[in-house]
């Protein structure tokens, strides 16, 4: 600071400013405010989340009050206004905006004039206050989510509950003067564990065997046995794998502007289901998905499995019509950073692409350290190049010896040669046409007769089609076995920080590839020269002392079993997320997952469903409700609506239409690469995108184009990391039950089933088959009333079917107590 301004800051006493007429604000609005917004607010406004040098420029008061160096603007005195001095770059240590060319002379003279005129400023009101968000490393390391889990002894509770988890819950309840609910009935509990663990209702045999086991060994033992059995059923992986697919933003098309299908995405889906069924430890699961290609494999089948795992990085939404290759690659890396940081750590690092994170201690350097890792990775998406797809890109070839299925037609070596010939003919043809068009143009004739836009498009199309066919087979005409995924690039590199995230604005210095600085782990893996760093990123994430990874997955599991996470914002543990309702319990479970369960999710799930807390009744209790209406303290088990897949699967299950085998690939895998906008015209794709009786996890998942049942019942938005699905209630759902062919077909099967059973009492028989229990006397009455009411309808012969359809449509069918 020079002497002149020092004297000024010490002695200046602001003069009262005459209130300015509204017309004066015009100048401010046109000339001043836009510059402030554009050039200053990022570091000096409440919205920008920063007050560098203690200075806020977003109110008149803030300007006059100034920052650490004193007032920024002195109305009427441009020469005494530090703001102007800084903008004019008068002092080398105070040049604003920083690290940029000085703002134009016009702007400077506008500011001078404005200050000279008394700095009329309509932005009245008190200067705002910055949030206390922990955006720097020091305060960040004190924020709960970045503090490593602390071991906590389960509290003493008398009388002792079944498990240590219950002790934590009981303690909080007791402190609030609340108590747990009594246990749910065995039938309710059975239905609950079947849906929660496998996504399917218990069938008649399941119910009978359970009853026998309870009679023989008691409820506790019977329950334990059943939980173990359910965890070993393949349907467990189909249910819990789907939970992960929500987090992995899995879909079978690119989404965005030109929505191309991903015919090989299903392999990753099956990998996830198998991984859950095999109970691959969660730390290993993380590493496989991020860096399976970099892990050793003894057998071809294991090599194939690990390559397919990296499909995690490739199934995200991408802009296939992006013409700028570099931009495309930067966007893919950005998407991978977003998916992996939010999915594994529940923090939003991708915010730091353009500016330091406004609420969490994540800097742009952190972002570009991670971006270097993914920019050094080649993502294999594999879609057909066409006029609306600039990208394409080949898939990863899987070892043939792994014996995996493929759907591509085998052909002959001759046919391959012929295709290649066709392609070169087409290219020659095009070149000739262009030459003729050029000649016509020179001779002043209309060139479009020789070569028109339509012909150009047609050409791209035809060549694209041949390329597409050639990609599916090898030289011998044998079908290729391929998957989506990621491999390291040969040109591994660090990236600079790009100002405002713009590729045209690289900073001078490169940021070494690495991980967010706020999480500092002893013995953190080091990325060496020739590697992308994906493996080290995965190892860093699964480091036993990592403060987030274990907590986040424990919380996800808790959410699916108790309907609400201990941290309700399952995908945001940062400052803007919520704080845990039971922090000690969360830490206890996270440490236990790592140290006792060896990252086994099955063990964690088993532990949680055997708690008294999970086994509680979900009945309403007014006194507790008034105290804790949101049930944050778990005074009862929360009710939930079944999710989309469960609703469809339950209808298939009770009507015995369910084909519980795994279908080969998926509809998208079997019908090949195409633009999803055209799926309605494909003869091999049914209009409701369903048409199968396999479990719903195997339904096609096209971005922006879902099978009806998924779209209607709140399926995850597959372009976002989704740890929690909303539950909505709309008339379209009712219309689906009333009028869709799918529900009608199930009702038809149910009616046949009941008739075959030779039942006298149709009302009860249908109730038992559809809802798994006999009707109460009142329910029987309304059922009988229905049959009387439809006695005179023209479609009376359908009445049993229509009765079953109504039972499938009841709220109890799709809700869980």
């Amino acid at each position: 600071m020079n002497v002149r301004s020092l004297i000024f800051f010490v002695f200046f006493i602001p003069l009262p400013v005459v209130p300015s007429p509204a017309a004066d604000f015009d100048f401010f609005e046109k000339k001043i405010r836009p510059v402030l917004i554009e050039s200053c607010y990022e570091c000096h406004s409440v919205d920008g989340g920063k007050a560098k040098g203690g200075l806020l420029l977003d109110t008149a008061e803030g300007m006059k009050k100034g920052g650490d160096n004193g007032p920024a603007v002195v109305p009427g005195k441009p020469d005494n206004s530090l703001l102007l001095a800084a903008m004019a770059h008068e002092q080398p240590d105070l040049e604003m905006p920083p690290k940029q060319e000085r703002l134009s002379a016009t702007i400077l003279s506008d500011f001078r004039k404005w200050i000279a005129d008394g700095a009329p400023d309509p932005r009245t009101g008190p200067s705002g206050k910055l949030s206390d968000a922990p955006t720097d490393i020091d305060s960040g390391r004190k924020f709960w989510a970045f503090v490593p889990p602390v071991p906590a002894a389960p509290p003493d509770i008398v009388p002792a509950p079944a498990t240590d988890v219950d002790r934590f819950i009981r303690k909080e309840l007791a402190e609030a003067g609340l108590s747990s609910s009594p246990p749910a009935t065995p039938a309710t509990l059975l239905r609950r564990i079947h849906f929660d663990l496998t996504g399917l209702p218990p069938d008649r045999r399941d119910r009978k065997r359970f009853q026998l086991a309870v009679n023989r060994a008691g409820l506790d033992a019977a329950l334990e046995i059943r939980v173990d059995e359910l965890l070993s059923r393949p349907s467990y992986g189909e249910k819990w794998g789907r939970h992960w697919l929500d987090v992995a933003r899995f879909a079978e098309s690119s989404g965005k502007e030109s929505n191309f299908t991903y015919p090989e995405a299903w392999r990753y889906r099956d990998y996830v289901i198998d991984a859950f069924n095999a109970d691959i430890p969660f730390d290993r699961f993380v590493i496989e998905q991020l860096a399976g290609d970099l892990l050793p494999a003894k057998q071809d089948s294991e090599r194939a499995r690990l390559l397919i795992a990296t499909g995690y990085l490739a199934v995200g939404p991408v802009s296939l019509n992006e013409m700028n290759r570099e931009q495309f690659l930067a966007d893919v890396a950005d998407e991978q950073i977003n998916a992996s940081t939010q999915g594994f750590m529940a923090i939003t690092v991708a915010c730091a692409r353009c500016h330091d994170h406004k609420f969490d201690p994540i800097s742009m350097r952190d972002y570009y350290a991670l971006a270097g890792i993914f920019r050094s990775t080649k993502t294999h998406i594999g879609t057909a190049v066409g006029p609306d797809n600039q990208i394409g890109g080949e898939l990863i070839h899987l070892p043939r010896a792994a014996g995996l299925p493929t759907f591509y037609q085998a052909t002959t070596p001759d046919a391959v040669l012929k295709l290649k010939q066709q392609k070169s003919d087409l290219i020659a043809e095009k070149e000739a046409a262009i030459a003729r068009a050029e000649k016509a143009r020179q001779e002043g004739r209309d060139p479009t007769g020789e070569y028109s836009l339509q012909m150009a498009i047609g050409h791209i199309w035809k060549v694209g089609a041949i390329d597409g066919k050639l990609a599916l087979v090898n030289e011998k005409g044998e079908p290729n076995v391929m998957c989506m995924g990621a491999l390291d690039r040969s040109d591994v590199r660090d990236l600079p920080v790009y100002e405002r995230g713009e590729l045209g604005q690289p900073g001078e210095e490169k940021v070494p590839r690495g991980f967010p600085e706020v999480i500092d782990l002893a013995g953190s893996p080091v990325i060496s020269g020739g590697q992308s760093g994906r493996l080290q990123y995965a190892q860093w994430l699964t480091h036993p002392d990592h403060p987030l990874t274990a907590r986040v997955i424990v919380n996800r599991v808790w959410k699916h079993l108790f309907r609400t996470g201990l941290v309700r914002t399952t995908d945001n543990f940062g400052y803007n997320g919520e704080r845990p309702s039971h922090p000690k319990l969360l830490d206890y479970l996270a440490l236990r997952l790592v140290n006792e369960h060896g990252w086994s999710l099955k063990k964690l799930i088993r532990e949680l469903v055997l708690t008294d807390t999970y086994r509680q009744s979900s009945d309403y209790r007014e006194s507790a409700f008034l105290e804790d209406p949101e049930n944050r303290l778990l005074w009862r088990m929360a009710k939930r609506r079944l999710d989309a897949e469960e609703i469809r699967d339950a209808m298939l299950a009770v009507s015995r239409d369910l084909n519980s085998t795994r279908p080969l690939a998926s509809l998208i895998g079997r019908t090949g690469n195409r633009n999803a906008a055209l799926s309605h015209f494909a003869k091999d794709i049914p209009p409701d995108l369903d048409g199968s009786t396999h479990r719903s996890v195997y339904l096609p998942v096209l971005r922006d184009k879902l099978p009806d049942v998924l779209e209607l019942f709140d399926f995850a938005e597959s372009s976002l990391v989704t740890g929690h699905r909303e539950t909505t209630n709309v008339p379209m759902q009712a219309l689906y039950f009333m009028n869709s062919g799918f529900v009608e077909a199930r009702a038809e099967s149910l009616a046949m089933l009941i008739r075959k059973g030779d039942n006298d009492d149709l009302v009860s028989a249908a109730f038992r088959v559809c809802l798994g229990r006999l009707p109460s006397s009142e329910e029987r009455k309304v059922g009988e009333e229905f049959f009387r009411q439809v006695e005179s309808t023209p479609d009376k012969p359908d009445s049993l079917k229509r009765y079953c359809q109504a039972l499938l449509s009841t709220a109890q069918f799709r809700n869980l107590d």
Binding site: N321, D619, Y620, N675, V730, M738, F786, D795, A811, Q812
Partner: protein, 475 residues
Amino acid sequence: MTPNHLSKPQSRRAVLKSLSSGFGYLAFAGLSTFEAFGKARSSSSVRAPHFPARAKRVIFLCMKGGPSHVDTFDYKPELQKRNGEAWRGSAAKLLASSQEFRQHGESGLRISSLFPRLAADHADDLCLINSMHTDLPNHPQAYAQLHTGSFQFVRPSLGAWSLYGLGSVNSNLPGFVTLNPPSDMGGANNYGSAFLPAAYQGAKIGGGQLPAIFSALSGKTEEPGPPMKNISNDRISQQMQRAQIDLITSLDRKQLARDIYHPEIEGAIESFELAYRMQDEIPDVLDLNREPDSIRKLYGTDRQGDSGRFARQCLLARRFAEAGVRFIEVTAPTSWDHHSLLNDNLQNCGAVTDQPVAALLTDLKNRGLLQDTLVIWTGEFGRTPYAQGLGDGRDHNNKGFSLWMAGGGVRGGYRHGSTDDFGYKAIENPVHIHDLHATILHLLGLDHERLTYNYAGRDFRLTDIYGNVVKDIIA
């Protein structure tokens, strides 16, 4: 506007009492206190706006492809004079408009000869904004930004936000419908609800429009299928279905009596009744034969090809508006993406859209609906003042374009902002898409800064951190 949380035990108790009386839901459906009980709220209740609304509903006429503003609503005498001159030292040449821009109405707004009916009948109803701009000159991104405010992320659409803010007036109909939206350009995202509850997403009426390139090759313009999924069922008699609804409702009520408090079941009871009524109402609204000949003629619904299709869309829009739908989007069946053969293409687009649009405004006015219906005519961006290709087309231009609004509290016969002498860039009072969104919400009585939804721990807005209401255009 975040859901109200109950603060006093008394009110909770009062609500509960009422709920357990059996008629609870119906009695409380309109009260926002009910929302606090769960996310399972329905879209079918009216909610109070933040301040008095000027418009109660929106008809959004989407001119996809990017209409050339310098040939439609932005008269540029300088451009006319300097036809063929080099554009700012580049190889591109300025291209004067072939359209005539006469002044119309008392306001003297200049409207090109492409829209004779609109100009003659409605010049004084139009509020032109000549200073629009958007971030990118690519169709899909600009289209997404126009519809959701963002081209980077999947975000709720303008219609979904509007419905979220205001609720629906007619519970027998969806509150937000979109007629023949394009199946590309981001597809369902343009009328989706993203992280807002699904109740706020647009209901697609009619098949999606195919990408131009595919329809050129296949000769088909729309996806096949019924106008709306699951809306009718000819395999069941009405009596049978009524008996089913009675059975379902009765079983659900018994369940509710056992559970006492269960928003999901309350909602289910309501939605089956709604759905049952919707089955009658939607086909009624869709049935244009219920309109007198004079109205059908006014719109031109019997004309051939795109003209007739667009006329039917516009008439349907009015019928939905009248029936109480909050937000109606109509995507014109023509593409305004005129990279070549500019004049032929413009003539065609004008011929297809002029009469139906003019008829829509006339019809709304005659019914007294225009005053609280905000009609918006816009594309995703404009076009360059210079030629491209063989010299008979214009390229995309995001830096400056025009749109108009009418009715719903905007100043008629008014022109806001301007582009430079050639129509290249918005210079005076520029209006960004975020500003447009803020203004539309404002006209609906919603403060764009207060209309928020908490998702993943953050309060989201349609306008993100941007947007200023364009006060000058409000009547």
